[in-house]
């Protein structure tokens, strides 16, 4: 019998395989929500609040469009979105899916309008008149924290979702010879995946299900949220994520739009669709990143950190987003600010503050990008104060390989790695000595050269033990995977998460191939559909390779055992006499392929032995790592920039990333993840910002004002991999999905500061825009005119 042709090159764990899914993407054959057509489908446009904070006096709807417009008063039995955290003191918010009584952010949904096309729906939306009584808008989180500020949620009494404090002997650091204090902040950003959100809701009468096809990365969680809000049992809801054009965290969130559409489809009986446009995306929804730090680092003269003391405030926006809640970022700040360093004293107070802005959502890197920015900038300030090169200060404090596994000051359990080696390699690869020599010589064009470093470690795939402590609506347990051998010897894998661009259709197939030897071309990964996949909390927290990969490996091993049992029979030997190898069950006298075994199981059951395991060639298996406190990948970034101090232009001349993601399933996919994250990190560092005016109006409503990095802005980074296995996971893999976006803002800003330090300039706000640089340069000149000659 002939099985499928075996590929010549290995395709399992470690192979640099081109991505299976790219064939359809590159040919324009992907199927996204907006590509789906359904008979009788109508489009929805929302009437959104034009004001950041106002009381709704009246909503006036002309009679001729009354039947096409729905407001909160129509939504009988629909519950508000509640994302409660179990952390002590947390104040829950209730987010009505259509505003009731008050609007608390620009872009908040007030009414939905239905028409045959989106343009006509927008025509109707324009005619709905809102009578609003404007209230003072809270657009500054620090002022919103003060007593006497206007209140986003009146019954709270203040605007603080949650305040936390951890103090681990900070007083012992107060006598340190070096004390460096800085005020550091990251601006509000938008996530801007290529595809925005979008959903189609329709009623499937045959299955008696409300089906919501939505661009999401956590379909099972969205189903739970829809069930809670609509008051319908989960079994009567199906959530389907088709091709998804980037998620980055935004698509893990339950949107009020999804709830509205579900209700509307049930009410109207025909399919309804809403496709988010960019203005909605930028101004109403996909907000992230806004942190403010007052940070003090205490250190000895040799650069050893004695303690870190920080007050961190996060602008959480108006509502607690489902399922991660409004306090994920700030409370995470407290636990991860220490980064990859070992030091003896720590204090961190955090506030998650409610303001009249869109809810803050977890974006690739989540709080890590902010804490990395704060701590790494502060460490460069320590280095400057101590008169030491920044790499020396870092090397002095990094957790050392012989300490691994290591419980840090906030009880994070670092699983493995050699952090100082990553730093050494990065400093060597960037050619720090040569760069500094060039810096001393000066540039003929008057620009200034700077070298910047940053290093972080990234917790990924943290599970039950971590999230049960947060007490949010979603706690991950065992990850499930289904695996089924097809009658011709192929393999179907089913996972409950959604691959939204990270290549899981390829990498999970590689994991299965490693165990079963089935060629990757014969393996199909089914994902993103609650009806067709086992339950999963979904794709978030860089967890898919560890969790879904581990589950697929577990399922594949179970299949291998069953294949071996049948194969042994076909080889007329005992199961203990055979081994499974490269897609074959091999005995002493011969071998049979998976395809041959499959044929017998499905097509010729008369050839099976009497006592064969009746469960056959289909399994669902659950997986948790040996420890579920998370894997810790890490990287050192080094960058060289040229800064034009007169016009604030920053050119990235060289960029090096030394990354350790444990054992890499597909190094090419990992490189892609790192480079994609880097692009986003460059955006955070230099370009992306959602500014607000004093009335809480978001000022960047199109991509003409909200600038994303393009091909010209993203450097061709050089990547070096270390591969220290995690002791706790299948194959020793670690999650790496977010790291690329964590380190660049700190590395780039440190490089800019290195370039401008002789001018008396230090940039502490991201993004570091030309305007901010010129402002700082002019201010420094005005403060110390003599410096100009020195420079």
């Amino acid at each position: 019998m002939n099985g499928p042709a075996q590929p010549l090159e290995p395709e399992g764990v470690g192979a640099r395989l081109p991505r299976k899914e790219d064939d359809r993407y590159m040919r324009g054959r992907g199927q996204y929500v907006a590509d789906i057509k359904m008979a009788g489908m109508q489009d929805v446009a929302f009437v959104r609040s034009p004001l950041a904070h106002a009381r709704i006096r009246a909503i006036r709807i002309p009679d001729d469009i009354r039947a096409q417009v729905f407001t909160a008063d129509d939504l009988d039995g629909v519950n508000p979105i509640r994302a409660v955290s179990g952390l002590p003191g947390f104040k829950p918010s209730e987010q009505p899916v259509l505003a009731r009584g008050k609007v608390r952010q620009v872009g908040e949904l007030v009414a939905m309008c239905v028409a045959p096309t989106r343009a006509e729906a927008e025509d109707i939306a324009e005619r709905v008149e809102l009578d609003l009584e404007e209230l003072p808008a809270l657009h500054d989180m620090l002022r919103a924290r003060e007593p006497g500020a206007a209140l986003v949620h009146e019954h709270w009494g203040d605007n603080v979702f949650l305040e936390t404090l951890v103090d681990i002997g900070i007083a012992s650091a107060f006598d340190a010879p070096i004390k460096v204090s800085r005020t550091i902040s990251t601006s509000r950003q938008c996530m801007a995946p290529i595809e925005g959100r979008g959903a189609i809701a329709h009623v499937d009468h045959r299955l008696d299900q409300l089906t919501v096809t939505t661009s999401c990365q956590m379909p099972h969680i969205v189903r739970s949220g829809l069930s809670e809000c609509l008051g319908i049992e989960e079994g009567r809801i199906r959530v389907v994520a088709p091709d998804v054009g980037g998620g980055f965290g935004y698509k893990g969130i339950l949107l009020p739009e999804e709830v509205c559409l579900g209700w509307l489809a049930l009410r109207l009986g025909h399919p309804v669709r809403w496709i988010e446009d960019r203005r909605e995306h930028l101004t109403a929804s996909a907000n992230c990143r806004e942190h403010h730090y007052e940070i003090t680092v205490y250190a000895d003269r040799d650069g050893a950190i004695r303690g870190v003391d920080c007050e961190a405030t996060v602008d959480s926006g108006a509502y607690s987003a489902y399922p991660f809640s409004a306090c994920l970022e700030a409370a995470q700040v407290a636990s991860i600010l220490p980064g990859p360093y070992d030091f003896p004293a720590y204090r961190c107070r955090t506030w998650s503050v409610a303001t009249n802005k869109a809810p803050i959502l977890p974006y690739r890197g989540v709080a890590r990008t902010g804490v990395c920015f704060a701590l790494e900038l502060a460490l460069d300030a320590v280095a400057a104060e101590a008169g030491l090169p920044p790499e020396i200060v870092r090397a002095k404090n990094l957790v050392r390989p012989e300490q691994m596994p290591f419980d840090n000051i906030t009880k994070k359990h670092f699983d493995s790695g050699d952090y100082p080696e990553a730093l050494r390699r990065a400093v060597a690869a960037i050619g720090a000595e040569d760069v500094r020599a060039r810096q001393k010589r000066g540039e003929p064009d008057g620009r200034r050269i700077g070298l910047g470093l940053s290093i972080y470690c990234e917790q990924a795939a943290h599970g039950t033990s971590v999230y049960s402590g947060w007490g949010i609506p979603m706690v991950p347990g065992h990850e499930q995977a289904g695996a089924r051998i097809t009658p011709d010897g192929g393999l179907e894998l089913r996972i409950g998460a959604q691959s939204h661009g990270q290549g899981l259709e390829t990498t999970l197939a590689q994991v299965a191939n490693e165990i079963l030897g089935v060629p990757v071309s014969q393996i199909r990964v089914v994902h993103g559909d609650t009806a067709m996949t086992p339950y999963s909390t979904g794709a978030w927290g860089s967890r898919m390779m560890v969790m879904a990969g581990g589950a697929v490996a577990t399922a594949a091993k179970a299949l291998a055992d069953r294949l071996a049992a049948i194969g042994a029979h076909l080889l007329q030997t005992d199961p203990s006499e055979v081994r499974f190898e490269a897609g074959h069950v091999v005995g002493r006298a011969g071998d049979v392929s998976v395809a041959q075994i499959a044929r017998v199981w499905y097509r010729r059951p008369q050839d099976l032995p009497q006592g064969v395991h009746g469960a056959g060639l289909e399994v669902t298996a659950g997986y948790k790592p040996v420890r579920d406190s998370g894997t810790f990948s890490y990287a050192a970034h080094a960058v060289v920039v040229a800064v034009d101090p007169e016009v604030g232009q920053v050119e990235i001349l060289d960029y090096v990333i030394v990354e350790d993601g444990g054992v890499l399933v597909n190094p090419m996919v990992v490189d892609g993840q790192i480079l994609g994250g880097l692009a986003q990190g460059i955006g955070t560092a230099l370009l992306e910002e959602m500014p607000f005016d004093g009335a809480g109006q978001p000022l960047a409503s199109t991509f003409a004002d909200y600038l994303l990095p393009g091909a010209a802005e993203v450097p061709a980074a050089r990547i070096d991999h270390m591969e220290t296995p995690s002791p706790y996971t299948q194959f020793g893999v670690k999650g790496i999905g977010e790291g690329g976006a964590i380190a660049p803002p700190a590395a780039v800003t440190n490089a800019i500061n290195d370039a401008l330090r002789p001018l008396g300039v230090e940039m502490l706000v991201s993004p570091v825009t030309p305007r901010r640089i010129v402002e700082a340069v002019l201010a420094a000149r005005a403060a110390a005119p003599a410096r100009k000659d020195a420079a």
Binding site: E122, R279, V647, Q649, L687, L707, R771
Partner: protein, 281 residues
């Protein structure tokens, strides 16, 4: 973000286009490349009753030399210059400017006439063609007129174009072989709208030394005799440049600094200043 309802016509020739533009009643807008108008329609910032699509008119795609000028039809695209399909002045001066406009997709459709009629202060052509001392040819049912760009553009997004009038061509004076163009644009990233533009054309043979500060919130500031600001031995007089920009209404210190830099660097290039004087600071 979908456009409101409007009527669209695609006239066969210029005469028909001018007839349609002259029709009474409602707001009539001209659609050329649509690279500014398209987004404005979708954002519902403009709500025309009638859109007259002139992009297919052969009369507006003509290019030729007349007297001492290059005459370029209004619907010649930025990419036509970039790729060398349209003739140039000097040694690739227009191609250089065109290739820096927005992104290639915009350049494929965006037109020189549309850019001038839109009169966005941040537009590259507005500043460059002001430095060249170009003229705009305007047609209506009652005839054609010619006007220098400086008189044509009256402010940000404002021109002397009257209802029923259409920009049909741009006349760019020829330059000598020794002419030098200085062109400096500050944008936050490649392809984005400029925050400051400096343009300067120095052509001693023809007695031209004109400088332009563009991307103001107003019509470009044209300095007819740039030698008042730049001297090949003394360099750039940034104080005087700053004074003039302040007089033109540029109050913000940082903005003014950026515009002074752009102007100074453009002048240094146009005057072929020695490297020591190239840097404005």
């Amino acid at each position: 973000m979908k456009a409101p309802r409007f009527h669209l016509v695609r006239p066969r020739d210029l005469a028909e286009a001018l007839d349609r533009l002259a029709e009474p009643g409602g707001l009539v807008k001209v659609l050329a490349g649509g690279q500014s108008l398209g987004p404005m329609l979708n954002l519902r910032l403009v709500r025309p009753d009638l859109l007259v699509d002139v992009s297919g008119l052969p009369e507006l795609r003509r290019v030729g030399r007349e007297d001492d000028a290059l005459v370029v039809g209004a619907c010649v695209t930025h990419a036509d210059f970039e790729d060398g399909r349209a003739p140039d002045v000097g040694s690739g001066m227009l191609a250089r400017v065109a290739s820096g406009i927005a992104y290639r997709a915009v350049r494929n459709r965006g037109t020189i006439g549309g850019s001038l009629a839109h009169a966005d202060p941040a537009a590259d052509w507005l500043s460059t063609l002001s430095a060249f001392g170009a003229e705009v040819e305007i047609a209506s049912r009652s005839g054609t007129r010619r006007t220098p760009i400086g008189a044509f553009v009256t402010g940000a997004l404002a021109t002397t174009l009257a209802p029923g009038e259409l920009v049909v061509a741009v006349r760019i004076p020829q330059v000598s072989a020794q002419a030098r163009l200085g062109f400096v644009k500050h944008a936050r990233k490649i392809g984005e709208f400029a925050h400051a533009i400096g343009a300067a054309l120095v052509d001693p043979e023809r007695g031209v030394a004109r400088a332009v500060a563009g991307a103001l919130d107003a019509a470009p500031l044209v300095i007819e005799d740039a030698r008042e600001l730049f001297d090949r031995s003394a360099g750039f007089d940034r104080t005087e440049a700053g004074r003039r920009l302040a007089a033109a209404g540029l109050a913000d210190t940082v903005d003014r600094h950026l515009h002074v830099e752009a102007l100074g660097r453009a002048l240094a290039e146009a005057f072929d200043a020695p490297p020591g004087l190239r840097r404005a600071a």
